[in-house]
C-alpha cells in the first residue's frame, strides 16, 4: 500500500528562509515519491500553521507527516499533538531539523539547500516505516523529594505541602535554612534575613505534610518519573530525637570548643555537640564525632550526664531509609569561591582581608562580634574599607561567568560598613550590574547618601608592602582607576572580597545520581534556558535555585515555587504518559543466547528458563536500544527506532547526495 506523505517546511521568519530557499525546497519535496503534498509556511508552529497540517490530513487523507523546521526538542510535541487532533497517530510523524542543523550553522546558501534536502529525504524515507504507537501510561506516586533545605528548597516544599501532597525534605547540614540563614540583611530592601526566613523554616519544620530529613544525604535513586525509589542516609546525630527537647543543656555543658567553618564561616566557635544557630530547625543538636572529647579520648560524657531526658546516644549509628516518590526537586545551592586561589588578594595571608560570607557573619547581630564591624584584633573599628567586586567571577583564570549577586551584595556591604563604622568605603568594580526591580534605585541611594567612592577597575593586588607615605600598617589596594587612566594605590584598614558563587563541589556526582546533566561550569542543565527553566531532560526531576546557575534570593524563591507548581501539576494528573520507545523480544526468533541479558543497566531483561527465551519488562525498559543492536538473531525490536526506520533514513539521506554528486563530478 502506498503512503500519502505531507511535507511542511517552516520559514521560521527569516531564521530558516533567510538562508534556505524554502520555495525551491518545497517544490522539490513535492516531487518525491510517496509525497502527496509539500508546503512552506512562515511559522509552522503557529496555530495557522498547525491548522494547515490538520486540514491536509483530513482533506487529503495524509497517512504520514514530515515537518522540516527547528529541533524536535523544541516542537516535536507540538506537531505530534497537531497530528493527533486531526486523527493521525502522532508517531506517524517525523521532524527534520533544518534550523539548528542547517540555516543557523551554514553560510553557503546552495549547500544549505542541499543539506536541507538530504535531511528531509531521510525523514520522508523513515516516516514511511514509522508505526502507529500508543503512549505508555503510568501512575504517579504523589509523594515528592526535595533535596536541599535552603530558601529555595523550603519554598518548594511548602508550596507542595500546602497543596496537600507529602514532601521529603533532605538537608545535608544539621539545620535547614541554607546560606540565607547566615546573612544579616538582604538587598535591596535591607530587611533582616532571619526575620523573613525563620517563619518559613518553622513552617517547614512543623508542617504535617513535610518529613524533614536533616543531617542526611541521598545515596541512591532508582526508577523513572512517577515511580522513583530513593535511599537516604541519615547520619548519626548521637542524639535520640524522640527524647530530645532541644533544651540546649548538652551544648552548654560541652567543654570542647571548635571553630565553626560552616555556619560561622570560620569566624566563630561552636561546641562539639551543637545546633548551628539558635533558630535551627529541627531544634535537635548533632554531635561532631571528630572533635568530641569522648570519641577522641574515651572520657567526658558531660552532655550525657546533664541531659535531662537521657537523649544522648553515643552508640547511635547511621541509618538508611528508603521511600518512594513520584517527582524530585533539586535545590542543592552553591559553594563560595575559595579566595585563596587568588594569592595576590592576600586572603588567608593578610588578617584583615575577608570574604563575603565572613563579612556577613561579622555584620550579623547574632554573629560572633554581635554585629560590630571590627578588625581581626577584635577591637579596632576600621577607618577605611575597600570592597572588591567580581572576585573569582568574570575571569577566565577562575570562573568565566558573572555571579549575578556580587554587585548588589557589595553595595549592601558598602551601606552596612558606612552605617556601622562611618568608615570611608571604596567599591572597586568592573561594571555595576543592577538589573532587577528596585536594584538600581538602591545603587542610586548608595551614591546619594553614603559617600562611597566608586573606582572602576579590577583590583590587581592587595599588599601590605608599604612604599609611599601613609601606607605603613595598611592594606594597600593597587588598581588602575580606568576612568582616569592612572594606577592608584589606596591604603585601607579592611578589604572585603565579594567572592563568586560556585557549583557545589560534588555537583557532578549529584547530577549523575539523579540522571541529569551539568554545564561546562557544572551548573545543572535545565530543559530549556528560557521556556523550561526548572525542568530537566529527565522526566520527573526538576532543578531550582542557584544549583541551576547564579541567582539571588527573589529569583531562587521564584524558581522553588515554579518547580513546585510543575510537580503539583504532574501529581494532579495522577498519571503520566511515557514515550512508547521500548524494546521487545520476538520469542519466535530468540535463540536464548542470553547476550542481551547483561546489556541492560536497568535489569529489564530476564531469561525465562522454562521457555528458553529472554523477555523484556516494558516498565523497567528505558528505551536506549543497546540490546537491540546487540541481539545477533535480530529478535529484539526497539519501537520507534527500528532497523527498518533507521536504515531507510540512511538511504534517504544519501539519495540526495548521490544525485547531486553525479551532477557535479568532483
Amino acid at each position: 500500500m502506498s503512503e500519502k506523505v505531507g511535507v511542511y517546511i517552516c520559514h521560521c521568519g527569516a531564521n530558516i528562509a533567510g538562508v534556505v530557499d524554502v520555495a525551491a525546497l518545497s517544490h522539490w519535496a513535492g516531487e518525491l515519491p510517496d509525497v502527496a503534498v509539500a508546503r512552506d509556511y512562515k511559522f509552522m508552529c503557529s496555530s495557522l500553521g498547525q491548522e494547515l497540517i490538520e486540514k491536509d490530513i483530513q482533506e487529503l487523507g495524509l497517512t504520514r507527516v514530515v515537518v522540516a523546521a527547528c529541533s524536535p526538542h523544541l516542537h516535536e510535541a507540538t506537531f505530534r499533538n497537531c497530528c493527533k487532533r486531526a486523527g493521525l497517530n502522532p508517531y506517524l510523524f517525523e521532524m527534520a531539523s533544518i534550523r539548528e542543523q542547517v540555516s543557523w550553522v551554514t553560510a553557503n546558501k546552495t549547500v544549505a539547500l542541499e543539506k536541507s534536502k538530504a535531511l528531509i529525504s531521510g525523514a520522508v524515507h523513515r516516516v514511511i516505516h514509522n508505526q502507529a504507537l500508543e503512549p505508555i501510561i503510568v501512575d504517579i506516586n504523589p509523594n515528592v523529594l526535595v533535596v536541599g533545605g535552603g530558601i529555595t528548597g523550603i519554598q518548594a516544599a511548602l508550596e507542595i505541602a500546602d497543596a496537600g501532597y507529602h514532601v521529603y525534605l533532605v538537608e545535608r547540614e544539621p539545620s535547614i535554612g541554607g546560606h540565607m540563614a547566615q546573612f544579616d540583611k538582604t538587598f535591596p530592601t535591607l530587611d533582616c534575613s532571619a526575620c523573613i526566613l525563620t517563619p518559613k523554616m518553622f513552617s517547614a519544620g512543623t508542617h504535617p505534610n513535610i518529613t524533614l530529613l536533616t543531617w542526611s544525604e541521598v545515596e541512591k535513586v532508582d526508577g523513572y518519573v512517577g515511580n522513583f525509589t530513593v535511599k537516604v542516609r541519615q547520619k548519626a546525630r548521637k542524639v535520640n530525637t524522640e527524647l530530645c527537647t532541644g533544651c540546649g543543656i548538652c551544648e552548654q555543658k560541652c567543654p570542647k570548643k571548635v571553630i565553626d567553618t560552616v555556619f560561622e564561616a570560620g569566624m566563630g566557635l561552636r561546641k562539639a555537640v551543637y545546633t548551628p544557630f539558635p533558630q535551627a530547625v529541627p531544634k535537635y543538636p548533632v554531635m561532631d564525632v571528630q572533635n568530641c572529647t569522648f570519641f577522641q579520648k574515651g572520657t567526658c560524657k558531660a552532655c550525657e550526664k546533664f541531659c535531662p531526658t537521657g537523649a544522648i546516644d553515643f552508640k547511635q549509628e547511621d541509618k538508611v531509609v528508603s521511600f518512594d516518590v513520584g517527582n524530585i526537586i533539586l535545590a542543592t545551592g552553591w559553594d563560595l569561591f575559595d579566595c585563596r586561589r587568588i594569592p595576590q588578594y592576600g586572603y588567608g595571608r593578610l588578617a584583615n582581608v575577608y570574604n563575603s560570607l565572613e563579612f556577613e557573619r561579622l555584620s550579623n547581630a547574632a554573629g560572633p562580634t554581635g554585629g560590630k564591624v571590627i578588625l581581626r584584633d577584635g577591637v579596632t573599628v576600621p577607618q577605611s574599607v575597600g570592597i572588591i567586586h567580581c572576585v573569582g567571577s568574570r575571569d577566565k583564570n577562575y570562573n568565566p561567568y558573572c555571579s549575578a549577586i556580587c554587585c548588589m551584595q557589595s553595595l549592601k556591604f558598602a551601606h552596612l560598613v558606612k552605617e556601622k563604622t562611618g568608615a570611608q568605603v571604596y567599591n572597586f568594580y568592573i561594571d555595576i550590574r543592577t538589573p532587577l526591580k528596585a536594584y538600581d534605585e538602591f545603587y542610586q541611594h548608595i551614591l546619594e547618601t553614603d559617600e562611597t567612592r566608586f573606582v572602576r577597575g579590577k583590583v590587581a593586588e592587595v599588599t601590605d608592602a608599604a612604599r609611599l607615605p601613609g601606607e605603613e600598617g595598611k592594606l594597600i589596594i593597587q588598581v588602575e582607576d580606568t576612568l582616569i587612566g592612572k594606577q592608584r594605590r589606596i591604603p585601607v584598614d579592611m578589604v572585603i572580597l565579594s567572592a563568586g558563587l560556585e557549583p557545589r563541589h560534588d555537583a557532578k556526582e549529584v547530577a549523575k545520581l539523579f540522571g541529569i546533566g551539568c554545564s561546562a561550569d557544572q551548573w545543572f542543565i535545565e530543559r530549556h534556558p528560557k521556556l523550561d527553566p526548572v525542568a530537566t531532560m529527565t522526566e520527573g526531576v526538576f532543578v531550582a535555585g542557584v544549583c541551576q546557575g547564579p541567582k539571588d534570593i527573589p529569583l531562587s524563591v521564584t524558581q522553588g515555587a515554579a518547580a513546585a507548581a510543575r510537580v503539583i501539576g504532574l501529581v494532579n494528573r495522577k498519571q503520566v504518559s511515557l514515550e512508547p520507545v521500548r524494546a521487545s523480544v520476538n520469542a519466535e526468533q530468540c535463540s536464548g543466547c542470553r547476550i542481551c541479558n547483561n546489556q541492560c543497566p536497568f535489569n529489564a531483561i530476564s531469561f525465562l528458563v522454562d521457555k528458553g527465551v529472554s523477555e523484556i519488562n516494558p516498565a523497567l525498559c528505558q528505551g536506549c536500544g543497546t540490546c537491540v543492536a546487540a541481539c545477533p538473531a535480530g529478535a529484539i525490536t526497539g519501537s520507534h527506532y527500528t532497523n527498518a526506520q533507521i536504515l531507510s533514513q540512511i538511504e534517504g539521506i544519501l539519495e540526495v547526495e548521490l544525485g547531486q554528486r553525479e551532477a557535479v563530478p568532483a
Binding site: 551554514t106 500508543e134 528505551g623
Partner: protein, 153 residues
Amino acid sequence: MSDNNQFEPVIVGFTCNWCSYRAADAAGMARIKYSPNVRLIRLMCSGRIDPQFVLKALSEGADGVLITGCHPGDCHYVEQNYKTLRRYALLKRTLRQMGLEDNRVRLVWASAAEGRILAEEIDKFVSDVRALGPLNWIKMATTTYVDPAPASA
C-alpha cells in the same frame, strides 16, 4: 560543491538523544558555522548503533561515519556508551578486514553543553575524510525492510 572542485565528502552522523544531538542544537543556537557535510541521525543512545548501520551508510555512498554520544560516565542510560566504545573498537577491526580505511569511522564524545566542541570535531573529521578521498564502495543491493509488529506494551 565548492568552487575549486575540491572533493566534498558525505558523512552520516549518529547522535544520541541526550548529549550529542543537543550539542548539535547548542551549536545551532550559538550560530557556530561548521562543515555542512555531515547529516545527523538521531537515536536514543549511541548504544543503539548497530554495525550494520555504519556499513549501510558506507555502502550507500557515505565517505565517512561519525558516531557521537555522551562522555563516558555521563550516559543518560548509565553505562551504555561504554558498550558503544567496545563495539567501536570491534567495528574498526571489521572495517580493516574488509579492506576499508578504519579512520573513515570516528567516535566523538560531546555533552549537551559542547556545541563548539562538536562543531570543531565535525570540521576536523570532514577535513580528515576529505584527505582520504572518496570511498566509492560497492553499492549494496537495495532491500525492502519489514519490521515485526512491536509487542503491545
